[in-house]
Amino acid sequence: MLADLGEDARPLAGGHSLIPMMKLRLATPSHLVDLAGVPELKGIRQDGGDIVIGATTTQHELIGSALLADELPILRETSLLIADPQVRYLGTIGGNVANGDPGNDMPAVMMCLGATYQVAGKAGERRIAAREFYQGAYFTALEPGEIVTAIHIKAPPAGHGWAYEKLKRKVGDYATAAAAVVLTMDSGKVATCSIGLTNVSETPLWAEEAEKILVGSALDDATVKKAVAAAEAITSPAADSRGPVHYRTKMAGVMLTRALARAKERAR
């Protein structure tokens, strides 16, 4: 249906990005296809070593999931920082990752986790890595008529450390800057490390260089500083009401520093 109607149609999940955009006339679809009646798109399950999250699973459901609390606690931590309770009851993870809004929190977390998105369209199904999905503000690898149906995440090893640090002006705001970190420690040294950054570029960012600097270190101040500088170097935030470019870049660095410290504390 979405494929047949083409550009005139938009899928409606939680509606908490699309309806505000329609009110502003930034989106004027002639047809909305409500995904709420498709139960296959909902739910959280384990599939081997993967966690599979249906696209219309709400932030509220993510927060309440015992499976995620055990296996992927960073998702709960992130969800609790998104918008407010009412929005979380309806806002979906699929909408959050597929909309391509650089202000959304989940995309950087998905890049950090190395998630893949399962996508369906008229031509069939395919998978796209989160790290290759985001092309520009509101531009993604989705073709017209395609929707994200599920997210596949390889569960990080037990004992991993995690943190999502978000600076925002008030409850419900998008991030001035935010950083997601997942790491594992071995004998006091970083064994693996993964970093995503939110809202400091046209797309969420995967801070690969910073990760390489940190692996093998004990997260000492000098190494962290070097990694933070590498992460700041890939940002290109817009100057807006959340602050000027330099400030937002530096805040990305501060969020990363805090996230690394908290992730290290939690790692076993």
């Binding site: 009110k23 409500d34 407010d84 309770p85």
Partner: protein, 166 residues
């Protein structure tokens, strides 16, 4: 555009209506059902004045289409009082604790607090503040709203309400 036929339960009463697909739930409730308790404040999903309960969730009815509520169960502030007409513990709490001044945010606050207490009958002060973070009040500074919810929680749990020392 052709109107859509919807059926839903609002405050315990079955309703049937024809709505345009673009009609927002808040407009349907206020203009077609004459339930003007839920208010239109910001119309941008921020303020929470339009909060109603839909299928066990607090939702901002300015950001839901009426057709999305088809088949659903809704409670608004009009459905909050006890069946015998006495005030619900939350309504009583807001009156006793001076949880409102102008009253514009109150229907949304109470409807949201109602769902919060369904999920967490004995919330801490922090949990209350986190739970009502999607509802803005520009009069009270929230202090008395938090007290009003604590008052209601205590009453519903059958324990005496004790105001925290300031």
């Amino acid at each position: 555009m052709a109107k859509s036929h919807i059926t839903l339960t609002v405050n315990g009463k079955s309703e049937e209506a024809l709505v345009e697909p673009r009609t927002l739930l808040i407009h349907f409730l206020r203009e077609q059902l004459n339930l003007t308790g839920p208010h239109i404040g910001c119309d941008t999903t921020h303020c929470g004045a339009c909060t109603v309960d839909l299928d066990g969730k607090s939702v901002k009815s300015c950001t839901v289409f009426a057709v999305q509520a088809n088949g659903g169960t809704i409670r608004t502030i009009e459905g909050m009082a006890n069946p015998d007409g006495t005030l619900h513990a939350l309504q009583e709490g807001f009156r006793e604790m001076h949880g409102l001044q102008c009253g514009f945010c109150t229907p949304g606050m109470i409807t949201r607090a109602w769902r919060l207490l369904q999920e967490n009958p004995s919330p801490t002060e922090d949990e209350i503040r986190f739970g009502i973070a999607g509802n803005l009040c520009r009069c009270t500074g929230y202090q008395n709203i938090v007290k009003a919810i604590q008052y209601a929680a205590a009453k519903l749990n059958g324990v005496p309400f004790q105001e925290a020392a300031e």
